[in-house]
Symmetry: C2
DNA sequence: ATAATTTTTTAATCTTGCCTAAACAATAGC
DNA sequence: GCTATTGTTTAGGCAAGATTAAAAAATTAT
């Protein structure tokens, strides 16, 4: 029941999985972009993955995963995120430095290996960037995280739960702003002029956050939104 | 100062390193055997490694590592053995199951990664099979381990310190005999007829050990060899 | 509807690492 | 010293995964 692909094949399946979740189908071009390859390379690999019955590919249309393909993709993502937890929690890496290594580690080990790693780490629910870790069946709890831009009310309290961009420079910028996952803020003001925000953290310290930053944060609303519409 | 090769290149360097330590030079054929490749493949790779200045290869003679090549080889071996410690100590793998995964993990990570892993594991001196773990410079403490066949005196006490064969079936056989690294025995008798041994463990239990098993165990003599030459 | 643009596919090549079979060196036997 | 054997290298090829450039299909614009 559990088979596995080559490193390259697994990377394609991961990319298709993520694109499919976003757009329903994975276009040739989007896959190429995600993997930093050429569209011609994608056409070639899709032929191979279709033969393996891990994707269904309609020429000129795009690709979707078969159940088997989805299983390999989620298992790879599970390993990726578990390894990221390991690197941060056990090896004390900063959260902006783990992705590159997880990208290699994710292709190692079988189901038994993964379950041992998971148990060793205490079955974490999310990775260091707040992304959910699929269980052994490839499922994960639906998450309540929402893009900050949707939270317009003043005094709204929220907790930072994730990032929608895990690039190192963004993560280091969050470090500089002293914004960590799990930290709680309330909205002081939102400036339509440039889309920036002012927040207050739990110890009463105010923070200014640009639109660029806020739009890439995933937050959880803390209480059934107090009805104070305007300050 | 620290560069790194492809997976295949690192495997060649490891093989050459080990053969060079045993025979002074690594013959084409011995390398091929160790890597389960053909001599023709070895010739090809040696050309490449020579260009990289990681080995010196004289046609029809054999290969030796340059300092750079030795550095990559020992770093790979260091990673291999550290990962084996991780797998046994942290993920509770049996010692006969870790080599295959370490063979893949050894190619991941840079010097910083390796030092973090080492620190996390408490800077172990040996891997689960008793093999010494090179330090960050590729050096390790000379070990006092000796093949059991050289220990002929009765009543000689010794501690099992390693195996010269890490094949799964041998390791599982040791498990069956209840022989673990660090366990102490004394020689009761040696039977020249078939080369087998009788030992007594610390709690007075006697064990019979075949020549095949004894000849693949590395032991440390416990005391300045009592001069009882014959019983 | 037709033309222009974008996207995908095909075709021809490249690289890495491997193989088999044949040619070539080195060694050993006599 | 010549011959047989062993070990090494060359030659020719294959597979996976990529690339570039050109052809074909789909989409968008007029
Ligand atoms: Mn990641
Ligand atoms: Mn990957
Ligand atoms: Mn090993
Ligand atoms: Mn290896």
């Amino acid at each position: 029941m559990n088979s596995t692909g080559s490193i390259s094949q697994e990377n394609y399946l991961k990319a298709i999985f993520k694109l499919q979740n976003e757009h329903g189908i994975a276009s040739n071009q989007a896959i190429a972009e995600k993997l930093a390859a050429t569209p011609a390379a994608v056409t070639g690999m899709l032929r191979k993955l279709t033969e393996l019955e891990w994707v269904e590919h309609t020429a000129y249309q795009g690709a979707v995963l078969t159940p088997k393909g989805k299983q390999i993709a989620t298992s790879t993502i599970r390993k990726h995120r578990l390894w990221e937890v390991f690197l941060v929690e056990k090896l004390q890496f900063k959260w902006d430095a783990v992705h590159q290594w997880a990208e290699e580690l994710e292709h190692i080990g079988d189901a038994d290996f993964t379950e041992r790693l998971d148990a060793f780490l205490g079955c974490p629910a999310t990775d260091p960037h707040g992304d959910p870790i699929p269980d052994a069946n490839g499922d994960w709890a639906g998450n309540e995280r929402v893009i900050l831009a949707d939270v317009l009310a003043c005094n709204q309290e929220f907790t930072v739960r994730g990032v929608s961009n895990s690039a190192s420079d963004f993560l280091r910028h969050l470090d500089a702003l002293n914004i960590q996952l799990g930290k709680q803020f309330s909205v002081v003001e939102h400036f339509p002029f440039d889309g920036s925000w002012e927040w207050k953290d739990e110890s009463g310290v105010n923070v200014r956050v640009s639109r660029e930053v806020a739009s890439q944060l995933l937050v959880e609303l803390n209480r059934p939104q107090m009805s104070s519409k305007s300050q």
